[in-house]
């Protein structure tokens, strides 16, 4: 029986620039013990749909224009604030995307966990602190927190991202809800942690027979856990059906496009690597940071060893993929090679010339030859500079263009990265994420560099945009004969783009080799673990894998 039945939901945003139909005529239902996945790219309305059920939307600008959401016989959209509070406390729980910001840093996790029990709106249902504490500790144990009695009194910053997400799951389940809404619960997590959290959610759901709505932008993630899938785009439903139907008998063109955009398989371009010419040579590089949080006089903890004795070399024309989870030191390694952070020891050589130990002034001529593309296209562009100003800065600074030719050169750059020239005098906020990343790529290739470090250039983008940007990067690498260090946490992306791969863990490179060789026969245990955790857009193998791990 359906526990939640949403019919013809319409949520419009009344903004200064007109009405935005965030959710338009969306209907679905969820059964107890089943999982509905809502999949869509950013701006598709998938989060708005779920937030409107719990009255979590800012009103105004949002306004529910129509529809019903019958939950256990009462309409969530038209109930009083009092009733809504009752539903939130007893029946419906939400897990949010970012485990770093969804816990209050000033309260212990235990205090936050028992809040709904000891401050229950219904006074008869309020529990005493002691009882609530026991309940919470049992639940922490169930979600896999080691030593839950001691951890009950820990503060959120003492937990890792994955552990925090476990705490948040415990928080959601403590009121024994009948419906659990998961809003991208694994997006901010590493791939190995993601696999664990997905299994945990599945296991808890089966045990408690709760209905789950799982919101995600990633079809691969939902393949293993969803019973039905709803694909949304621009506020409307594009396709809905059982998971197998969606993946194996895809009807809708948009769903097909989504599935096709998932990077899969090996690189299709030929390897242009020239082994006789080394562009970058790194020998025994160490980058340590002073440990700010550690006050004990333990000499072993005085430094955070972000990069610890790394040696690698990159051939001319090669794309070297650098994979690792967050905190592995991969970004720091990239910045160390570019001399953007001071190196503690070791040498970095660019075409045989030693860069380590040069002053900022001495580095200027080298900077022109080495560029970087950053992860976050929202933070990497100065919000107060137009596209023209951003792109002309490197051209003018390095004397590649003068006042007379700069207009034409900027226009050519924009053309090369696929931006329309009428947008030359617009500011970054007027562009979408993918277009901004194009601007950032344009800035990086403006100085005609020989070597580019791309630090997670597509991880902040939607999957269809991601595919376009990857193709743009590949075409530019080929056209300009570039050498690239491609840093990413996403193994599928790295496989799609790299000639050779280096795997990094805890400041060390644990394994390196030709991409396909490494994929087929990984030598190091960590590499095997990483490769095993990649979610595939294939429900059958995903289910097998999940079941296999539990058994």
């Amino acid at each position: 029986m359906a526990i939640l039945e949403v019919k013809e939901l319409k949520v419009y945003f009344h903004t200064r620039n007109g009405v935005v139909k965030a959710v338009d005529n969306v209907s679905f239902s969820v059964d107890s013990g089943k999982t509905l996945a809502i999949v869509g790219e950013s701006g598709s309305g998938k989060s708005v749909t779920c937030y409107s059920l719990l009255d979590l939307l800012p009103k105004p600008p949002a306004k529910i224009e129509g529809g019903t959401a019958m939950f256990n016989g009462s309409d969530l959209l038209s109930c009083s604030p009092e009733q809504m509070r009752h539903h939130r406390c007893n029946d419906i729980a939400v897990i949010f995307q970012d485990p770093m910001t969804s816990l209050n840093p000033y309260l212990t996790v235990g205090d936050q966990l028992i809040e709904p029990l000891i401050y229950h709106p219904n006074k008869d249902k309020r529990e005493r602190r002691v009882e609530a504490r026991l309940k919470a500790i049992a639940l922490l144990d169930e979600v896999g927190i080691v030593d839950p009695v001691a951890r009950f009194d820990s503060y959120p910053h003492e937990f890792s991202g994955g552990m925090r997400q476990r705490v948040i799951i415990a928080m959601a389940l403590i009121t024994e809800p009948k419906l659990l809404i998961c809003d991208e619960p694994t997006t901010a997590l590493d791939v190995t942690i993601q696999a664990q959290i997905l299994q945990l959610i599945k296991k808890l759901q089966e045990k408690r027979n709760v209905a789950v709505i799982f919101i995600s932008h990633d079809l691969g993630v939902v393949a293993g856990i969803a019973d039905t899938v709803l694909v949304m785009c621009n506020g409307t439903i594009r396709e809905t059906g059982s998971t197998d139907d969606i993946f194996y008998h895809t009807q809708n063109d948009y769903t097909k496009k989504l599935l096709a955009a998932i990077p899969e398989g090996a690189k299709r371009l030929q390897n242009r690597s020239d082994e006789t010419q080394k562009i970058i040579q790194v020998d025994n590089l160490k980058t340590y940071f002073k440990n700010q949080s550690d006050s004990s006089n333990n000499p072993a903890k005085e430094f955070v060893k972000a990069v610890d004795n790394v040696s690698l070399s990159i051939n001319h024309g090669e794309i070297l993929g650098l994979v690792g989870e967050s905190g592995s030191g991969k970004s720091t390694l990239g910045r160390s090679i570019l001399q953007l952070v001071p190196n503690t020891a070791g040498t970095v050589r660019f075409k045989g010339e030693t860069l380590t130990g040069l002053s900022q002034k001495q580095l200027v001529p080298w900077r022109r030859k080495m560029q970087m593309i950053f992860q976050d296209p929202y933070a990497s562009l100065n919000p107060r500079m137009t596209v023209f100003q951003t792109l002309s800065e490197p051209l003018l600074h390095h004397g590649i263009a003068d006042r007379g030719t700069v207009n034409a050169q900027v226009a050519q750059l924009m053309n090369e990265v696929g931006l329309a020239q009428i947008q030359m005098h617009k500011y970054p906020h007027e562009f979408s994420g993918g277009q901004r990343q194009r601007i950032a790529i344009g800035r990086a290739i403006a100085t005609k560099p020989e070597f580019i470090i791309a630090d997670e250039p597509v991880s902040a983008l939607d999957v269809t945009i991601q595919a376009q940007i990857l193709d743009l990067i590949l075409s530019l690498v080929e056209r300009h004969n570039l050498t690239m260090l491609f840093i990413s946490h996403d193994l599928s992306v790295v496989r799609y783009i790299s000639d050779r791969v280096a795997v990094m863990n805890k400041g060390l490179i644990v394994e390196a080799g030709e991409t396909e060789t490494l994929w087929k026969s990984p030598q190091h245990a960590y590499t095997r673990q990483l490769l095993k955790a990649i979610p595939l857009a294939d429900p059958k193998s995903e289910r097998l894998r999940m079941a296999g791990v539990w058994a």
Binding site: R367, M372, N382, T386, M424, G433, R438, A440, Q468
Partner: protein, 296 residues
């Protein structure tokens, strides 16, 4: 959002515009801010022309007349010495506006540079520069002023210096905080990897992004500087009667508030008018200088 791979080839030459040109276009559509600007310009023009257009002398006393309410001869009344209030407010505006703008300008320049440098370089340079700020904060203001008076004697330039020297401290702190959060943004790192000089990065990438809070704080500083001048003058450390300033007129007006309310009301209106105009203009400027607010 569609990201097209191919771009149209026709070059459209739109006139390039700087942040300030854009800001002006946006400001010119904000009527409240324009009104504020107009009022300020009017006040400044009147102040500049005062010696020629003032109806009476600011110092000539007419003790027989005494304090009279506004009339056709004296539009804003006269003070207890029989001096025309309109004239005194006009002359007072010269001092007040000058102190307000110059002292704030001094505070602005020192504060932004000091804060930007401390925040950008961080580490020891930051620690040293901010300790200097702390020491100046801790120094009692009155003792500081008296010391300056003893050493340099009393003059109006000293007044600017003294007020500016106090007001830039808060500005430096605000800017430093902003810069510290901007310093690790990726666009600053990108500028670094382009090989731009540190000074260029501060000037082009950091300072423009601190403008919002700075402008708001500036519009709050100008009136507080004017009142500070009144306080100093009241203590005999600023300007002296028969010269006047708005602050001084207000503090004398307060004493005779019950008998002769117009002595308080009119200089009060002059100061409030300036304050309103500054706030409207400041809000308008903040919005205009932020490209994220739309042009239309």
């Amino acid at each position: 959002m569609s990201d097209s791979i191919t771009a149209p080839m026709d070059v459209i030459h739109e006139k390039g515009s700087s942040l300030w040109q854009d800001a002006w276009i946006k400001l010119s559509k904000n009527y409240l801010a324009l009104l504020g600007l107009a009022v300020l310009v009017l006040l400044v023009v009147i102040s500049l022309l005062t010696p020629w257009i003032a109806p009476y002398s600011y110092s000539a006393q007419n003790l027989d007349l005494g304090a009279t309410a506004p009339s056709l001869q004296h539009w804003l009344g006269t003070d207890v010495f029989g001096r025309d209030m309109l004239t005194r407010i006009m002359y007072g505006g010269r001092v007040s506006l000058m102190v307000g703008f110059v002292a704030t300008g001094v505070a602005l320049v020192i504060g932004i540079l000091w804060g930007a440098i401390a925040g950008f370089y961080g580490g020891r340079i930051d620690a040293l520069m901010m300790r200097i700020v702390d020491i100046l904060y801790a120094l009692p203001f009155m003792i500081f002023i008296v010391l300056l008076m003893v050493v340099f004697g009393r003059n109006i330039l000293l007044l600017f210096l003294a007020i500016g020297a106090v007001e830039w401290l808060t500005m430096a702190r605000i800017v430093r905080g902003q810069v510290m959060s901007l310093r690790h943004q990726e666009f600053v790192e990108a500028a670094n990897s382009l090989g731009l000089s540190q000074w260029t990065i501060i000037r082009r990438h950091i300072i423009p992004n601190t403008l919002g809070p700075v402008i708001v704080y500036t519009t709050l500083t100008i009136p507080s500087v004017m009142l500070l001048e009144a306080f100093l003058s009241f203590l005999g450390l600023g300007i002296q009667p028969p010269e006047s300033s708005w602050g001084l007129l207000i503090s004398y007006g307060v004493e005779t508030m019950e008998e002769y309310p117009w002595l308080l009301v009119f200089p009060g209106i002059a100061l409030s008018l300036t304050l309103f105009a500054l706030n409207f203009l400041g809000d308008g400027l903040r919005d205009a200088l932020d490209p994220r607010t739309s042009k239309d």
